[in-house]
Symmetry: C2
DNA sequence: CTGAAAGCGCTTACAG
DNA sequence: CTGAAAGCGCTTACAG
């Protein structure tokens, strides 16, 4: 077991100063061709690699960014990570992934822990609990310290920073309009409780589409799910008690569950009831029937968020101006087998 | 925008030495109650947090580990990350997630980049390309430097280190035996090419089960898929050209695709053909019919791997002995609707 | 062309 | 009880 070699050791071996070694390795013209070659050869032989931590301390940046998300099991977040990772790696940045598990406390702890030099910036999507509490002090604190933050998907207007979102309202409007265009009027909505920002926006888009088409909004057709553990029975009641033409679900789990329950109730999808989901994940793709869905393009969101963050990190402090952008990523309706 | 406060600044403000500040904050008994309180109050007011990077450099450890995986989009890997993250966070460690994208080069670059002080240890699953090349020098190099590595799932016998695996052979044997017990004899296998270690082991388990039950192994019923882009047609031929009773697929994508194709060919699952998959992911759970599958328990694998790694990290260098364990995580057959 | 010094932000053995 | 010094591993302005 041979420990990593340091500049100091090389200097000692070669009987030169540490400065000379450092400069030689960085190809400084200050150093004679001769010494440079000697040092470089030696360094190569011993497989010298500069210590990242020392560099971080010296440069006051870690070349590492953090993506802080509520859950990794959700396919959407996994795709975002994938997008972030690619852009970051390309620019020589590492990515720390942190999970808040939808908990406010964990979100705070994670941010405080990493904001002390470990990372250069955050990409984050709010936990449910944070959205509910509307307490964002941990985020504004980090921003106040001069650390850039990019929020995506679950964002808040209470914090000024770069954001990457989709137009949830419009996407939901379009999905609903698509169903209306097929001639449906009794369209159910399976959504989340209102404090989840994207759920609320999607609900609004649905309502707007109905109103635009002079369809009366029937609260009985709107199911707001709070608890992700036991929502099957709620969906069952919705489908049982209302003779729906179609359903718009704000995520793919709700959509696929609706299909399963419809089947059990003897309603064929899409013959008897059409279903549209949200988020183009593997469930939608591999479900039978495969699910027509609003494609959210997590990879693109991640890439964009990473690009925005790195841009902020790369500009010199002097020319830094506080100017925040909100990028809206295009969604598209992917038609599959769950709609006629 | 107010920068993070340092010991130096506090020292200056309070007109004491940096050492005194440092000791006060660490509650050293060397310091008078008075100074201690004064310093602590001031630090709290200015929200002082020690700089992680400086601590890392000083302590020669970063309290960060890396999980290096081929893909994050695969649900299995996402669950492993989740397990690793929980255990690590509990012990005050951060987790860097790196993706090799199944590429040998990316795996090497990632490891070399992080092995220089950024992290204290690796948890990893080999990329396909690495398994194919059988080139593991990057891993042995890291281990030689004294950095602990824990491999999981896709491991190799060529490297001595801690490992967390499932008994792929046995799990496949059991799954196949389950089908045989139902009275099936014409059982197809959809697997990967042999250089993917787990694919090979699962293939062997399948063959062993057949042989144990005196069923002739028919190579025509074994489909080895190399390219994940275009395997539908291959599965289609398999199902079309052979009147199978059942299919054992080594992952859930293959399993769900088999179901879809069977449906299209007019074969009902499970009435006409039973299907068992591998990896208990969301696809298996939400597919219609839901899929009977070998549950791999990624969370548990991740937790175990993290525990093993942290254990190595926490023991003192002196008492460190090179002793490697291979933990086998139990699998279980989750019966659902795709088998009779 | 080479090296000593200062510094990034911290800790700690040692001196006073 | 307090502080100066050395050190973690590096870079770089400056002196010689």
């Amino acid at each position: 077991m041979r420990r990593k070699v340091t500049l100091k050791q090389i200097a000692k071996e070669l009987d030169v100063s540490i400065s000379t070694v450092s400069k030689s390795l960085r190809d400084s013209t200050e150093i004679s061709e001769d010494t440079r070659q000697k040092v470089q050869a030696f360094a190569k032989l011993y497989n010298y690699k500069p210590n990242n931590i020392a560099l971080s301390l010296k440069n006051r940046k870690s070349k590492t960014i953090c993506i802080l998300i509520p859950e990794i099991i959700h396919h959407f977040f996994a795709t975002v990570i994938s997008g972030v990772e690619h852009v970051a790696n390309e620019k020589g940045y590492n990515v720390i992934v942190c999970l808040s598990d939808e908990s406010f406390d964990k979100e705070v702890i994670n941010m405080e822990m990493l904001a002390n030099g470990s990372i250069d910036g955050f990409i984050m999507s709010l936990s449910k609990e944070t959205q509910q509490k509307k307490d964002f002090h941990h985020i504004s604190e980090v921003i106040n310290q001069g650390m850039p933050v990019v929020m995506f998907d679950r964002v808040t207007n209470d914090i000024l920073c770069d954001k990457v979102i989709i137009d949830d309202n419009l996407a939901a409007f379009n999905a609903t309009q698509h169903l209306i265009n097929k001639g449906f009027r009794k369209i159910g909505l399976i959504t989340t409780v209102d404090y989840v920002s994207v759920g609320k926006l999607r609900t609004e888009g649905y309502i707007k589409a109905l109103k635009t088409n002079d369809i009366k909004v029937d609260e009985n057709l709107i199911l707001k799910i709070e608890d992700t553990d036991n929502f099957e029975s709620q969906i069952k009641s919705l489908l049982e008690n209302n003779d729906l033409d179609a359903v718009f679900a704000v995520n793919e789990i709700f959509a696929v569950t609706a299909i399963k329950i419809a089947n059990k109730l003897g309603k064929k999808v899409p013959e008897n009831i059409s279903i549209i989901g949200f988020t183009d994940g593997i469930i939608s793709k591999y479900s039978s029937p495969s699910i027509t869905t609003v494609s959210q393009n997590g990879v693109k969101m991640g890439e964009k968020a990473a690009k925005m963050l790195l841009e902020k990190l790369e500009i010199e402090e002097e020319e830094y101006e506080e100017q925040y952008k909100t990028e809206v990523i295009e969604t598209e309706l992917v038609e599959r087998e769950s709609t006629i």
